[in-house]
Subunit: 321 residues, 5 copies
């Protein structure tokens, strides 16, 4: 689906154009065209390939989708694959944005994502002094927003861990917590798949040798790189804390087991001792003087109660009960 | 066993030829020959060595088999070892493909694998504009298909993990699950042995200095490299999740132990308390007024039942039963 | 908030100046100006940007805060982000110091920290022969003090671990210890976030290619680097020991469980054996000679006591009680 | 002990010579001498040092032994330390081979190993076209055989792990298995000490800058390197599987504990319920109608049996028994 | 405290000199001075700084102590920090040696260590042909002896691990073992702090670019490097085995728990069954024919004994007792 197809000149919008007009505008050196596709049909992609002269392998990647985040140079032009990560009902939903960038065109192909880049376009059009940098600036703007959208996801996962910690240390050590930890770990792995390769992608766009297209925007791409590093470090911390939480939880479960065992034993003792005494006075010896005492029975019951009372006090003191 | 021996010119099939004719075609600069062997006899290998002038060490590697995936340059020619991984009855079955590539020949030696490369040849012959790139293109095509065949294996392992997760969190924590996790880990190690060294192999074929033979096809080999990276990242995730699953499962087992202990204790209490009461009224004191009450017995039994009922209610409420 | 704004010449304080006078002093080549801001308003930052000609992206970072520690070159000038770590009521409190350094100015922007750098300024003004090095020396002095302030934090964490160890091995294996270990781990992760990126930051300021601004002070920056390495190594050790402590603690919990089980079993035996004997003499057989013995009852009780005494002695000897 | 001392020319054996004749042969440029020592006396080493002009530090290393595998260049000559690993009664036995290689001599000093290199010499003498490469070829041949001898050791360790796995999953979770896992880990560490440093050693002999002595044999040394990598990868897999086996075994032990607990509880129930019923009918109430029924006793026993039968059936069904 | 202050010429001792005479000897190009200080006063350090022209930052490091091992070049001269590790009553005691090396002086500053370097000096004076290399040789000699003194420490820790293993596998799984493992781990971390940074230090003294001072002694420093690597590898093994020992020990504890549980259950059964039988014959049914049998009582006791005998035999056979 074609979302937008706009020609820009000197950082200002020139016109909404039709795909079949693209080749006219591409010829003008002072112009650049920014096309946005969403879940495109093969025909749409083919049109774009023809109009912009895109490389076969890159187009095929965009057609198939499910690439890992990467950056590839095809002569003067760049092909960048990014993953978007969005919070979904169950776990995280991963989408893909493929960006083709040439001297005077940008083509973004979005698939499996909810949120588009209309806001990126709007913001860019309000800053013509930046948009004047041309197509590379649009690439920066898209990368920037994709990376910035990882932060709320990360915050959500961080919040989930905090909630789990709260439950762990408040003594709720049940199956649900363990499953939550496992699911959190899975989400972190999903996010990692999106962001880990981005380190390499962004580091190719500043410092040392950079694609000529992006040469003037190194400080901007360094900024994106910085954000990617921050995402990765936070994620590594989260993963390490999840691992620690799992092992800490196991220790707490073992403590809980100890406590249960002790409490059970205490209650067992409270029952077993009177049973033993009762057993003794249930013996059938002919000669058991206590049996004939007038107060034998109440005394015995009193002794039972006294012993249990004492045991109960002891167990309380040593925290078994 | 000789599978195929075909001469190509300008990307088109020239003729099926006999091994003994090879040297005639090899001489023609515009031609290249593509030979496929399957579990070859030493004599067949010797013929090929003579016809193509292969290096002794490379031929010896092919003869012995069981090499690790690698790429070696012998002067102008390349020797590439790849591992194929196929799903078998029990675990994974690892095969080997050794490819000798020279300016105008490709020799693939396949062993211990079910699936051949007939489809690679067929597809290549349908794309003469690509096959025109010569022997290096055939190397690419073979590597591409070998790597692509890892993905269904990976998907199967992924499916196995999901099935195990499902069983773990549905409360089925038995020996079979643990054995499944262990076996899955073994399979991942097997796959890793095939794919890990491929990273190095493929990275030598694009970017920086590449063998002159492959110079024009860097973008293709980069594509293979990309797929290898994807395989490796998925595999690393899988391994990390297997490790997490093992430790999570241990926590669940400990929880289960706690639950069993509590349930047992609850049942023990339901039995122990009436036993104690019965013991008390089994004492032989001369003076136990209750014993002579008319309703002493049914009352006692009723008390027992009432206590057990109350205990049962309490145990239910605290989820011990 | 403007904390200070001072012009220096030849390492000596020239005058406290107003922000609006800055551009006059900046023009003089032999002068440099050192401004300190604390939680600045956007207007204050804007003034500084204008007076010193700071780069838009750097100023934006300072405005937003929450950057990771980093160093960035913008032409001749440097932008350095540092994290301060202070002990707070609960856990650690992380602040930020952003330093802009040019040929003849230093601007430090401090936020979310308690302690300022008044002492750095005071000390520097007492050593004019060092302050003569100019703005880079001030950068060094600030980095030095930020890093030095990590050490007492590290010592506190080290002390916490020692206290936890003491409790673990003195047999106090309760929930609080495990929570302490977890919290300690969290603090270490917090500290790591501050200090890890500093390794890269400081290593860019000595050896190999350094920013021209810092060229003459390499030995000083190497000193800071050394301290950062020391912090990192100590922290890695601490993290490894925390992990070890968690697993060691689990082993101790299992031992404790064994001990509790044994002790319970021993007490159970002391009750069960007399109960069994009593049961036997409670049987209603017509012909049980012992029942009619005169000393049958006391003898039986004596036997019970003797058996329990023996069992108690045995349990003590094998350390079950 | 002097094992051999042979002069070679053009790849063919010239003569067995005496150590004191060495200097005569060393002078001839077309000759090279291959000396093998086994646990040499200090005097023997001194003779060799004098005859070949070996470097003091290298000779001292050979005298002391217990070096780590390494390669050192002393001017034109090389000093290589290798570890041999042999299967012994208890664990693995590590020996050492120190090889001094110069333009026209090879001196191998073997210590603490059973197997010598007589077969290497024999094989080399049968391939004069290879031995013609001179002393570097002998170095290759020795390294090749040392590395090849790691494979059977590795296979044995692999077999041990398989045997352990078989026992673990057949339910034999006893102390012996855990000790086996620990001992296997120890053996792997021993092997690792021998093979890990070899990676660096062999990688210095091919690719990039190589010692001039070995320049013509790079493809051979690459072959050794390949084998070392294979050993290392197999070993890493083994170590990872041992770690996994240890944690999997712990899970199985916990399952076993659960099973034992359940079985015990089931048996306890089978005894406790009749005991409770018996207790009830042992009460001394005057008015217990059942006691006077004719079939009271057999009925009660029948009820006890019925309850136990039912419980047994239930326990069987839920796999507790 | 000044330990020694000696001038050397041509590798031979010239004279014991006074600190105030140093500047006279330092001027002579063929001379070098070797000074050893132990826990020096600030004045002594100041004297040395003046006499040798030491760099302020280096002297400050020596004054403060507690540096990490490092090497720093100040112009032509070197500043090296080493850690000594000695076995102490409790754990390991870490000392520090700071060495200042210039073209014709060596100053070693020792603190917090028991053993000095008198033996290094003695040995060096006996080998004038080596000492002739000048001050760099003294640096080598000191580094060599510091590193060599790690080996007995390592052997002691190795011995401790073996002792712990012996106790673990002989079934002594108590708290003391776990504490020993933890303490051993701590000691390894202490040693690691001393030796890890030495890798970098020594690697700067051979191969590639080395400080001009040490240029002629590369083979000696490579030797030290080799020893440092050996220490590090042994230490890594030890650490990995300690980790393995901790987890293996946990498995053994779980096995022990299983065994205790089984044994307890077995004994419980031996008591519970007779109690149940006794309970049955303690019932007060009017019509219980066995009660009136003459041999009822002895028969019942015999049955009890028989059942217990049989159970005992079964428990023995299945190793529960």
């Amino acid at each position: 689906m074609l979302v937008n197809c706009v020609a820009y000149q000197e950082g200002r919008k020139l016109a909404d154009i039709q795909p079949r007009e693209i080749h006219e505008y591409v010829r003008r050196p002072e112009c650049f065209i920014w096309v946005a596709l969403y879940d495109p049909t093969p025909e749409e992609l083919e049109t774009m390939q023809r109009e912009f002269g895109l490389h076969e392998l890159a187009v095929e990647d965009a057609r198939h989708g499910h690439q890992r985040p990467k950056i590839e140079e095809y002569g003067d032009s760049l092909f960048v694959v990014l993953h978007t990560v969005e919070l979904a009902e169950k776990g995280l939903s991963v989408g893909e944005v493929d960006v083709f960038v040439g001297r005077n065109y940008v083509l973004s192909v979005r698939s499996r994502t909810e949120r588009g880049f209309a806001d990126v376009r709007a913001r860019s059009e309000h800053e013509p002094e930046l948009l004047r940098h041309g197509s590379a600036y649009v690439l920066y703007a898209i990368m920037d927003v994709v990376v910035d959208r990882y932060f709320p996801v990360l915050d959500t996962l961080d919040g989930e861990l905090e909630e789990i910690e709260r439950r762990i240390f408040s003594g709720q050590n049940n199956r649900a917590i363990i499953e939550s930890l496992y699911v959190l770990k899975q989400k972190l792995m999903t996010l990692k798949h999106a962001t880990d390769p981005l380190l390499e992608v962004t580091s190719k766009l500043y410092g040392g040798r950079v694609p000529p297209l992006c040469a003037g925007l190194q400080e901007y791409f360094r900024d994106v790189y910085d954000h990617v590093i921050r995402v990765n470090q936070s994620m590594d911390s989260l993963r390490e804390m999840v691992t620690t939480a799992i092992s800490v939880n196991l220790s707490l479960l073992t403590i809980q087991e100890n406590e249960v065992t002790k409490r059970l034993a205490a209650y067992a003792a409270l029952v077993a001792v009177p049973t033993m005494i009762a057993g003794i006075y249930g013996m059938n010896f002919a000669n058991m003087p206590e049996l004939t005492w007038r107060l034998g029975y109440p005394l015995t019951v009193a002794v039972m109660a006294a012993i249990d009372g004492y045991l109960f006090y002891r167990f309380r003191k040593t925290k078994w009960l």
